[in-house]
């Protein structure tokens, strides 16, 4: 089976600044991949290129077997940005209905999917409330629920658990694992290093390149450290030498 994301020798230049030099990244169906790296490393640029918001200057960016940018394939990708990107004057349900329709989900299917995703992020009782009355965590959860709409084959989540309580964070990760077991692919960027341990493979993005890309346990063994956090620090230290 072909990988859901297949990025080879991806290069991206803004003006004179080379943001991505040579990025190789694959996400297989039924796999959660964590993308970690310091801010400014180009994580968002990788994601934007995958979604067709930016065009690669070199290399190939195949998403679900389609060279990006491509509009139609976006219906099969669930995307959650760093900003919540919600319509504040609308209720949670109205937001879900609107984005659902944009993704091409409609009618009975949309209603049942809204019920399901609301349950996953624990917002069932707050669906009729306006988003402007939501707390930061609730907004984050609603944003995640929108990404889950349409039962996409690929989920791209940019910092999904910022501002979410530990108990709910666990619930979200349980849902991500459930989706993985159902054969979906998930790409997650995160700053929380112990979350990186929950992924199947971790990609370490530093200096425009993927320096290390393997299972968390194997990376820890390779760098001879006990946690991903220390792998991160060690890799950063090596780069500076």
């Amino acid at each position: 089976m072909n990988p859901s994301i297949d990025i080879q020798h991806l290069k991206k230049v803004f003006g004179k600044q080379v943001v991505l030099e040579d990025v190789n990244l694959t996400v297989k169906p039924g796999e959660i991949v964590g993308l970690i790296g310091p801010s400014g490393a180009g994580k968002s640029t990788v994601i934007k290129t995958m979604l067709g918001m930016e065009k690669a200057d070199g290399g190939k960016a195949l998403v679900l077997d389609t060279q990006m940018p491509n509009r139609k394939i976006l219906g099969n990708i669930g995307y959650m940005a760093q900003s919540d990107a919600l319509y504040e004057s609308l209720s949670a349900k109205e937001n879900l209905v609107f984005y659902g329709k944009m993704k091409g989900v409609d009618g009975q299917q949309l209603t049942s999917e809204i019920d399901h995703v609301a349950q996953v992020v624990d917002l069932t009782d707050d669906l009729t409330k306006r988003v402007s009355n939501f707390s930061g965590g609730m907004k984050r959860r609603l944003s995640l629920a929108i990404a889950l709409l349409g039962d996409p084959d690929l989920l791209v989540l940019d910092e999904p658990t910022v501002g979410i309580d530990p108990s709910l964070r666990k619930k979200i990760w349980d849902e991500l694992h459930r989706l993985r077991d159902a054969g979906r692919s998930v790409l997650v960027t995160t700053h929380v290093m112990d979350e990186a341990e929950l992924t199947d493979r971790v990609a370490l993005l530093l200096g425009g390149k993927v320096l290390a890309f393997d299972e968390p346990k194997k990376l820890e063994a390779e760098y001879k450290v006990p946690t991903i956090e220390e792998v991160f620090l060690a890799a950063e230290g090596e780069l500076e030498k």
């Binding site: 918001m53 509009r71 394939i73 219906g75 900003s83 004057s89 609308l90 609107f98 944009m102």
Partner: protein, 372 residues
């Protein structure tokens, strides 16, 4: 199409919940119209006091009869000038020699000066006319004794006099209608421009545009959704503005109100696409506000509120690239002459071209945020 309607519905719902913006769009124009109406009626009732020294009684009588003009007679020039100095009178008229007049204006308020000027001119002219009429009447009386045709000639005289009066009234009417057909589209265009621009800007800064473009929606569908929702808002706004202009300002509309709405909606769509386009150049609400003078002032100056006939040809040509020129022209035709939409093809075409060009530019500009 489903997506277009969903986007239009969503914007409509957001607008309905934004009470302050709604009030600005729907109530503000009425308030502005009402204020302008007050300013207009204040202008026409400026009253002037003119002091006369040794002026022919014929002229002072005519002056006194003129609306909003009162005359005070003084014997000495020095007393009259004293009154002028203390703002008791607005002008002093002295007859230096027969048929030679000298006027001194206080000129505190230019409106009063111009009213006094006009009144004096009319009175002196009329005075001459009466003298002439008297002379000619005397001549005619002599002639009549010869031919017996007095009655006919004097009828002609009086009808000539009343014609002059009608032209005056027409001038005022013209000023009002001009105001209606140029000011209202400007005002409408302004509100739609600002609100749609802000709406698009908000969508961009809050990240919802990015997220929207991360779904398979077409860029054209987003622009169409905006056109439909704000177009409907413009219809409601036009109806309110037009009817309040008719009721509050008592403006007579010869043509159909429906035609006025059509033209205004077209103009609103131009303003909308232009506002959206400019919003891509702004990175904050404050920067959006800075576009207002750049966009509004040229429209105000060049679109015919101030007559351009006597200006250099490049000025007149510049007016042709402004959408308000066409909307104002079409509205003048409808309001004053009752021209039907079918006969306004040129203006409608020009507005449609603006909409199509600006709309496509918007779709193109959105490519910045998604490459397909």
């Amino acid at each position: 199409m489903k997506r277009v309607l969903a986007i239009a519905g969503r914007i409509g719902r957001e607008l309905l919940r934004d009470k302050r913006t709604l009030a600005m769009v729907l109530i503000m124009p009425i308030l502005v119209l009402w204020l302008l109406n007050i300013m207009f009626s204040a202008n026409t009732t400026t009253s002037v006091k003119i002091a006369t020294v040794g002026v022919d009684s014929q002229i002072t009588k005519t002056l006194d009869k003129t609306k909003h003009v009162s005359v005070v007679k003084y014997d000495k020039k020095s007393t009259a000038n004293d009154k002028l100095k203390h703002y008791k009178v607005d002008a002093v008229l002295t007859e230096t020699s027969s048929n030679h007049y000298k006027v001194t204006y206080a000129n505190i308020d230019p409106t009063k000066t111009s009213v006094a000027k006009a009144a004096l001119k009319a009175a002196i002219l009329k005075g001459k006319m009466t003298t002439m009429a008297k002379t000619s009447a005397a001549l005619q009386a002599q002639l009549a004794q010869l031919t017996g045709q007095t009655a006919q000639t004097s009828t002609i005289k009086s009808s000539a006099g009343s014609t002059t009066k009608i032209t005056n009234h027409y001038n005022y009417g013209d000023a009002d209608t001009n105001f209606f057909s140029k000011m209202i589209p400007l005002m409408m265009g302004f509100f739609v421009f600002l609100i749609s621009g802000m709406g698009m800007l908000g969508e961009r800064t809050s990240g919802t545009l990015d997220r929207l473009l991360a779904t398979p929606v077409k860029r054209g569908e987003i622009v169409s959704g905006y056109l439909i929702s704000y177009g409907l808002l413009a219809v409601v706004q036009t109806i309110i503005v037009v009817y309040s202009a008719i009721w509050i300002m008592k403006i007579e509309v010869v043509g159909s109100v429906f035609s006025i709405i059509v033209i205004n909606v077209l103009l609103a769509l131009v303003a909308l696409t232009f506002g959206m386009l400019l919003s891509t150049l702004a990175s904050s609400e404050f920067q959006m506000m800075q576009f207002i003078p750049i966009v509004i002032v040229p429209q105000l100056l060049f679109s015919g509120i101030i007559p351009l006939d006597t200006m250099a040809s490049w000025v007149q040509d510049f007016g042709k690239i402004l959408p308000l020129t066409y909307a104002g022209d079409a509205l003048t035709e409808i309001v004053m002459k009752g021209t039907s939409l079918a006969n306004l093809g040129g203006d409608i075409c020009a507005l449609l071209i603006f909409i199509v060009v600006l709309g496509s530019l918007n779709i193109l500009a959105m490519k910045r945020y998604r490459k397909v």
